[in-house]
Symmetry: C2
C-alpha cells in the first residue's frame, strides 16, 4: 500500500463515490471525512457545549458512517475496521475504506478538539502505515487567500512551518504540526477531479498543493 487518500466529507455523496470508484485497484486506502454530519455536531456543540472527548468521539463516528455509505455504493470497495483488514482487502484487489473509530478509540493518539479533524486522523494513519498522504477536498489546494477572493493564487509548494501561521485553510489546524513532528508531507488536491488524484498517485504532474514537513 502506497497511499492513504482522505476523501473530504464535503465531497459526499456523489463526488466521494465517483472518486473512490476511480481509486479501486490503485493500492490506496481511503478514509472519509465526517462532512455535513460532523458539521451538524459542531453546531450542536456551539449551542450546548459538550466535552472535548464527546465531540472528538462523535465526530469520528460520523467518519465511520460516511465511510460505510461510500463503501456501500462503490463496486470493489470494502469497509474495514483494522489496518490488517485494509491490507487483506488490497491483497484481494479491492479498495479498503477504513472506518477509524475503533483504531482511534484504542490508540487515542491525538488531542481531543475541533482542531483535529479527519485530515490529522488520516495523517496519523498514514504515519502508522508508512504511506504517503493525499487529501482530496472541494478546492484545488491551498491558496494565498480564500479561493473565492480576487487574486487568490494556488500555492504549488508550502512548508508546514509556514502553514502554521496561515490562518484558516482547507486543511485542519493540527495537520501542519503533525507533518513537522512526523517529518512527512501531504498533497492537497481537488477530489472533484479524480484524474488529478490518479495523476499524483501515478507520479505524474497535476494541479495540487504539496505541504512539506521536512
Amino acid at each position: 500500500m502506497e497511499w492513504v487518500v482522505k476523501v473530504g466529507g464535503s465531497l459526499f455523496p456523489d463526488d466521494a463515490i465517483k472518486l473512490c470508484q476511480t481509486l479501486v485497484g490503485t493500492e490506496s486506502i481511503v478514509i472519509c471525512g465526517g462532512g455535513a454530519l460532523a458539521n451538524k455536531l459542531r453546531a450542536y456543540d456551539t449551542k450546548v457545549q459538550f466535552s472535548d472527548t464527546a465531540n472528538h468521539k462523535s465526530a469520528i463516528m460520523c467518519m465511520d458512517i460516511l465511510g460505510m455509505l461510500v463503501a456501500d455504493k462503490v463496486d470493489g470497495a470494502e469497509a474495514v475496521h483494522s489496518l490488517e483488514d485494509a491490507k487483506k482487502t488490497i491483497g484481494d484487489g479491492k479498495l479498503p475504506i477504513l472506518l477509524p473509530y475503533l483504531i482511534m478509540e484504542y490508540l487515542d493518539p491525538l488531542e481531543h478538539s475541533w482542531s483535529v479533524t479527519s485530515d490529522s486522523i488520516s495523517l496519523y494513519i498514514s504515519h502508522l502505515l508508512k504511506t504517503k498522504l493525499l487529501i482530496a477536498t472541494d478546492v484545488d489546494g491551498i491558496y494565498t487567500s480564500y479561493p473565492s477572493q480576487t487574486g487568490a493564487k494556488l500555492i504549488k509548494n508550502i512548508s508546514a512551518k509556514k502553514l502554521l501561521n496561515f490562518g484558516e485553510t482547507s486543511v485542519d489546524e493540527i495537520l501542519p504540526e503533525l507533518l513537522l513532528q512526523y517529518k512527512s508531507e501531504c498533497y492537497v488536491v481537488n477530489g472533484r477531479r479524480p484524474e488529478r488524484v490518479i495523476s499524483i498517485i501515478e507520479g505524474k504532474n497535476s494541479k495540487y498543493t504539496l505541504i512539506g514537513g521536512n
Copy 2:
C-alpha cells in the same frame, strides 16, 4: 429495571438532556433516537439510494452518537453498550443510556428498512429486558389526525391492530406489528413535559396515548 424510555431524536439536544436529567434515579434505561443526523441520512438515501443494510446500520450509529452526547451532558448518566452494563449502571444509582449499535449488529433481529426506527429498536430492547416501554416524542401522543390540523384529538387508548392501518403517526410503521407479536404495550408521551413521563413511571395519571398489543 422497569422501563425503557425512548427519547425521541427531535428532542435533541436541550429537551433530551432535560428529560434524561429528570430520569436519573428512576431505574429506567434510555435509548435515544437518531434525530437530525438520521434525517440527513434519509435525505442522502433519497438522492443516492444506499442498500437497506447500509441505511439501517448507519441510522443506528446516529442513535449511538446522540446517546453518547446526551450522556455527556447529564450528571448521573452513563453511556453503555450492553444490557449487563445497563443493569450495573442502575445498580450504581445512575441512568444508563444504551448505545444500541453493537447489540443490533450482533443480534440483528429486525428488518432493514426505514420503517424500523429507534421506536421498534427500543421496543425490541424492552422485550429482551421484559420491561415496559415509554416513547417520549415532541407531541402529546397519537392524534385522530395530524396534531396541527383543526379538530385533531389526542387518543388515550388505541389497539396496535387499529394503528396498523392508521397511516403516518408519531411512531414508526413496524412498532404496531411488533407490539402484536410481543403481546406488549407502549406509552407515547410528550418528552418536552418531563413531569408527564415521571407520572407514568410512578403509575399516576397523565396525558399520553397507550398503544395496546394484547
